[in-house]
Amino acid sequence: MLAADRIIALALMGLSIYFMWHATVLPIGWEEGAGPGGGAFPFWLSAAMLAASAIILIRSFISHPHEGERFFPDADAIPQVAGVAGLLIATIAAIPFVGAYVALMAFMAIYLRVFGRHGWTLIAILTLATPVFLFFFFEVTLKILLPKGLTEPLFIPLYAAFF
């Protein structure tokens, strides 16, 4: 926990410096007769964030908070959490190519099978029902189009029928 606390504090300090560097594109000072410049808010708030995370880092060397606690109390869970996060990222990456429907169906099937260990019948019902629901709720009713990618031509007859 102590190591994790320090790493996170360091990461936040790095992030603050990155923000401060970007904020300097616009004036960060007080402009005469007009109040703070466009970069002032992001710059000085990032500076405050830098200071606060630095205190957290320094503090960890003085008082040793969370001693004996572990960042991952249950180490078995790490592969599972990482797996879900990885699957989520892969799904989002696939959306522009295979479209939201195919990507989400694959996501649900893999998740339910690998992490949920469900039977194929339940998986089939859920993965088939979800896209149908999404299509009718988002596209037909709310007129919010979801990305289709390569699957676009398949939807043209559906548009003609339901719009």
Binding site: A34, G35, V81, L88, F107, F137, P147
Partner: protein
Amino acid sequence: MEILSLLADGFATSLTPINIMVVVIGVTAGLFIGAMPGLGSVNGVAIVLPLTFIVPPSSAIILLAAIYYGAMYGGAISSILLGIPGASTAVATTFDGRPMAQQGKAGLALIAAAVASFVGGTISVILFTLFAVPLADLALAFGPAEEFALVLMAFTTFVGLGGDDVMKTIVMICLGLVLSTVGLDLISGQPRLIFGDLPGFYSGISFLVLAIGVYGVGEVLYTIETSRTAPSVTAAKLTMRALGEGIREMNKLWKTMSFGSFLGFFVGMLPAAGATPAALMSYGLAKTFSKKPETFGRGNIEGVAAPETANNAASTGSLLPMLTLGIPGSPTTALLLGGMVMWGLVPGPMLFIEEPDFVWGLISSLYTANVAAVVINIALIPLFVWALRMPFSVLCTVVLVLCIVGGYAPSQKLHDVWLIAGFGIAGYVLRKADYPLAPLVLAIVLGPLMEKSFRQALISSQGDMMTFVERPLSATFVGLSVLFFVLPVIKLVRQRKSKSPAPAE
């Protein structure tokens, strides 16, 4: 008495069988749209608006009011069941609604939200009926300085919300405020913090993206880890006894609810503020003045009732500047305003005089829609609670799919979905390291309002800071802010002295 007869005419139209049917359909549709993370009344209204040219205008107004109310009630549903605020107005509802659901009291929380919404909606519609016209002048008196002071006050009511760790709370507030400045700087018209010129950042980081990320994806990851040792969600049951208990509990909350309604109505009425600061302030104040503030954030029913009364009251209040001043306080009212323009109505001070049929038709529709919304909402609660009983891994998939689709829907940018995944993973790690997430989300909601009004006020005053305390309204709010800031600090110091455990997030 003239008002009453005008209102009676309005009711005569809104209570015909066909219009009652319209209300039921509208409210039900609104409930489901609002319950979907990422979607809110704005989506419902956008769909219905073009239809209003085809149906008779009186039915059109009723349909719009029904969808508007339905979606406002619906926002609380996803906050409580999934822990993802469906709209920024329902952020504060997650603070206690989610813990209640985890303790198996989802049904009770949903009832509390519905009843509170009804109370908030009713009180504010009555205020609207009686005082709409004179109050418009109060809204006019609000310039940038007053807006800043109000947002400052909303912020300070939340001082007590952070975790035990002051430094970590400060980091999260700053991070939220910095993220809220991403995009275009309104004052100079220049882009800032667009990270390598990514066009996706031009329009800034929306609150919804951050909230769906940290509360949706982050919560799922956190639950996956912790549920391996012990399941955290208790199966929810809804019995008649629980229902009766719920109503008794709500009976004790009259003070909180009526205070929340008045606060919500007045804050919602101010053009720039709207329902989100209203709900946050109501929650913050309920906690500050509670005898047991430490129970907030751990499933206190008062923490559901307070923001829900205020956000419904505020949503009604926000119709006031739209009708009387022609200023939309939210994207939804902006759409409604567009609808009015299309119907050939000119919003503004003359609307109440020139078009009384429209105005009172709308107000009576609000009464009807509010009653229909509470009845339909309570009737549907068993369905929502039942949905929670699906296996945990199924629920997780559904939540993640909704996070992706709901994150994409409002802006239709894949960029936002990437941000959701990023915020989700970051939120999970930060939460494990005891960084409180509520201040982060609050900061991104209030940040843009605060910076903008602060700088507008200073430009107007030629850079003179005294403008915030020289103007009477603004000075009042600044004074209250100081009070709200000092009060919890004194409490905290006392607690530290008596060595009692400090309240967690």
